[in-house]
């Protein structure tokens, strides 16, 4: 009996010690994309896994420049109101069909229907086919449109026209829809993994990494242990507490991405005590920003500055008069405000430890003499509750990096707790109307300074995701999320 048991045990042990293919990659990620529809959804996980790999845009943002991908070129008229895009002729979808301007026009228009910022920027205009090119004519400036096309969180990816034509209103794209990228979706086992397999017919240089398996592993400890055991080659969202241990492991490389988003404490400017600008300034001066960020991220993976935007829109944060803690000034503003001891209702979701920030915020406010009550909900319930502007005074959220100020949720008048200051709104609108990126940046600086005065929201800091990989995995692109397009397995020399 014992012999039989030992034989079975040995058989299991021998069988499961096999490794994976040398050019294959095993990646553990915290979140699964909610769907394959990158035009409609704005999930970071969807962009990391599918954008660029499976589905491609016409233009991409790389090293501070807009470069063509599926476009061969684009031209913007001198007045910035006409944009014309030429399409590459050597592009095939994964099903072998040829990508053409008709696919591009339908894809771009579906993207604009889904992406409110693009629709607003174009003033209701849509793309059309003209002389074999995708062209849009607008009454407003389209100077920022190439930037949107290249880097918006809702991706302007190219899909076959027949797939778009078959969609009912509100219907989303399924993972069976072919893309044009260097990888195709081999399989998507919901809740387990997405396997990307090489697209042998890809037009350009093929990636060195063949198959990539993205496993959905919610528990950060398991991701770490999987990396340490060699089961995974790359993991995302490393916990701060795990960093010292991983740093000490010579077989593991820690990687810090660029700033991928910011924490936002957003005031309700439509109802309740937060409508008072003095109260908002009192809160801004009472907040211990370091404590808030540390509560969520520990010792690593964030920076403290009150910029609303990340690079390349940064504005000198020393210009923010309410950007650092000053309890005496806070008390003065609180006295001058209409605050009379009522409970300030803080709304937060339990997503990615945001509730810890809410607790630290409440502590800061209580110490400043402001009574608080926190409501923690799951994401769906949080969004529903946030729509009811009589139910909260402050909400805490994390906003992933956007390439244009127009994309910042809390800078829209229709967003929950909406921004209603005409000066702020005028400056933000002017950014969208700018004739060039340089002009847009200058206008944004003015808008940011005015926003710091008005305090529609407080940004205590920006987070940057920490990743870890096996030491042999090199060439991972961390400029916007993580991508393995140029990655390879090696010992440091290529």
């Amino acid at each position: 009996m014992v012999r039989i048991f030992l034989s079975i045990a040995m058989f299991i042990l021998v069988s499961c010690s096999s490794g994976h293919e040398p050019d294959a990659l095993s990646v553990a990620v915290a979140q699964e994309p909610p769907s394959a529809d990158l035009m409609v959804g704005a999930s970071v996980s969807g962009r990391n896994i599918l954008a660029g790999n499976v589905y491609e845009r016409l233009l991409a943002y790389s090293d501070g420049k807009i470069v063509p991908v599926l476009a061969s070129s684009y031209t913007l008229s001198d007045d910035g109101r006409d944009l014309s895009i030429s399409i590459r002729e050597d592009v095939l979808f994964h099903d072998g069909s040829r990508f053409d301007v008709h696919d591009a026009v339908l894809s771009l228009n579906r993207w604009m229907d889904s992406y409110a910022a693009a629709s607003r920027a174009a003033g209701g205009a849509r793309f059309a086919e003209e002389d074999g090119r995708a062209v849009i004519h607008s009454d407003s400036s389209l100077a920022l449109f190439p930037m949107m096309l290249s880097s918006s969180p809702q991706c302007a990816v190219m899909l076959p026209s027949e797939c778009i034509e078959d969609l009912q209103p509100g219907e989303i794209i399924s993972s069976s829809v072919p893309g044009t990228g260097p990888y195709r979706i081999g399989r998507w086992n919901e809740g387990e993994r997405i396997r990307l397999e090489p697209n042998d017919d890809y037009r350009g240089e093929k990636p060195e990494i063949g198959t990539i398996d993205y496993f959905f592993v919610k528990d950060p400890s398991i991701r770490r242990l999987g990396l340490e055991s060699g089961q995974y080659d790359f993991i995302d969202m490393v916990l701060s507490d795990d960093i010292p241990g991983l740093e000490a492991d010579s077989g593991i490389r820690l990687l810090e991405g660029s700033e991928t988003g910011s924490i936002a404490i957003v005031f309700n400017k439509k109802e309740g005590i937060s409508t008072d600008q003095g109260f908002r300034r009192a809160v801004a001066l009472a907040v211990d920003r370091e404590a808030l960020m540390r509560a969520c991220y520990g010792e690593h993976g964030y920076s403290i500055h009150s910029d609303y935007m990340e690079h390349p829109w940064s504005v000198d944060p020393s210009l923010d008069a309410y950007g650092s803690m000053d309890l005496a000034e806070s008390a003065r503003y609180l006295r001058e405000s209409g605050y009379s001891g009522e409970t300030v209702r803080i709304l937060v979701s339990n997503l990615t430890d945001l509730d810890k920030i809410a607790v630290a915020l409440a502590q800061s406010l209580e110490e400043a003499g402001i009574r608080t009550r926190i409501t923690v909900l799951d994401w769906a319930a949080f969004l529903e509750k946030r729509r009811d502007e009589s139910a909260w005074d402050i909400y805490v959220s994390a906003l992933s990096r956007v390439m244009l100020p127009l994309d910042k949720l809390y800078l829209s008048p229709s967003s929950p707790g909406g921004l209603e200051d005409s000066e702020c709104l005028g400056l933000i609108a002017a950014v969208g109307e700018a004739g060039s990126m340089e002009e847009a940046r200058e206008l944004w600086e003015k808008a940011q300074i005015r926003l710091w005065e008005y305090v529609p929201a407080i940004v205590p800091g920006h987070y940057s995701t920490v990743y870890a990989s096996s030491a042999e995995l090199l060439g991972v692109d961390l400029s916007d999320g993580f991508h393995f397009r140029n990655a390879y397995i090696g010992n440091g020399s290529r």
């Binding site: 909610p34 769907s35 529809d37 400890s221 909900l377 969004l383």
Partner: protein
């Protein structure tokens, strides 16, 4: 037989009530699946279009009726992410079933071996088995899982840390992927098996037929194996049935720790993403499996001891 039919009929009624309760809870929870599919700043128009396309705009009663009729007809539709529900569940069943059955086998083996090894009271073996049972019952599943992963996966590199390999990839890989989760589950459940079965075995050893055998000079272990074992089995079958039902319906924790794509984690995801239809189908299936396990266990108990007609 009449009692079995009556049991099936009462189970069916309970299933309908249960499905209604779960569908109601998920469907009427604040928020809906648009929160997961659409971007945070989606306008009311986009949200309404999505709700219309997904049938979420219909009145609750109609939604439930559609759900129930589609469940009964076997046309289970798609998840909010667009996967076919029937196919998704079919891919998840083997995972939960594998770890449940293997941990059941482990628990039974632990109960039988340790009960025979600690038949005598107030012996070191008895104390050791009692201590093991107390320890395994008190260590949280998460902690025992972590310890197993650290030892067997990270230090010894014998098993994968997480994930599931289907049987089609080879029996060794399949067993390797379910071994640690099953062991962690078995460690948790085996204490009940051990304490209940050992008590039943000891009582059986004290019965007239066992004493009669012993008086004829039969060795104590032989008496336990050949005489006392079978009368003690019904209680073990009963505990095994209850535990199996609990494993099938409540495997979410172990599946989350080991990143296993089973039914438990699917149920959690369905509830969080407000997929009321998927959640309702899963609860109905879990309840049907529980009822089936219960009926089978009572049949087995009846076969083991036909005098127990009251059980059936």
């Amino acid at each position: 037989m009449r009692r079995i039919f009556a049991r099936i009929a009462s189970s069916a009624a309970a299933l309908i009530v249960l499905s209604f309760a779960v569908f109601t809870l998920v469907a009427l929870s604040p928020g809906d699946s648009s929160a997961y599919i659409l971007p945070e700043d989606a306008g009311e128009e986009a949200v309404e279009a999505y709700r219309e396309a997904q049938g979420l705009a219909k009145p609750f009663g109609i939604r439930y009726a559609v759900f129930l009729s589609s469940f009964l007809s076997g046309r289970w539709g798609e998840t909010i992410a667009g996967s076919e529900v029937a196919g998704l569940i079919a891919s998840r069943v083997p995972v939960t079933l594998s770890i449940s059955l293997l941990s059941l086998v482990m628990s039974l083996a632990a109960a039988i071996v340790s009960s025979f090894a600690s038949l005598e009271r107030k012996t070191p073996a008895s104390a050791a088995v009692t201590a093991f049972a107390a320890l395994s019952a008190s260590v949280p599943l998460f902690l025992s899982s972590m310890i197993l992963i650290l030892v067997f996966s990270v230090l010894l590199r014998l098993f994968p840390v997480a994930g599931y390999s289907p049987l089609s990839q080879g029996i060794g890989e399949w067993l390797g992927s379910i071994f640690l989760p099953s062991l962690a589950m078995a460690a948790l459940h085996s204490s009940l098996f051990i304490m209940v079965f050992r008590k039943a075995l000891r009582e059986s050893m004290g019965s007239g037929y066992a004493l009669y055998a012993a008086s004829y000079g039969m060795a104590r272990l032989d008496t336990a194996v050949h005489i006392a074992f079978r009368p003690a089995l019904p209680v073990l079958v009963s505990v095994a049935a209850e535990t199996t039902a609990a494993m099938l319906g409540g495997s979410a924790a172990i599946e989350t720790v080991f990143a296993l794509p089973g039914l438990g984690s699917l149920m959690v995801d369905a509830a969080l993403s407000r997929d009321a239809s998927l959640a309702g189908i899963l609860v109905l299936l879990a309840a049907m499996a529980t009822a089936a396990v219960s009926i089978v266990s009572e049949l087995v108990i009846f076969l083991l001891d036909p005098r127990r007609t009251e059980a059936v």
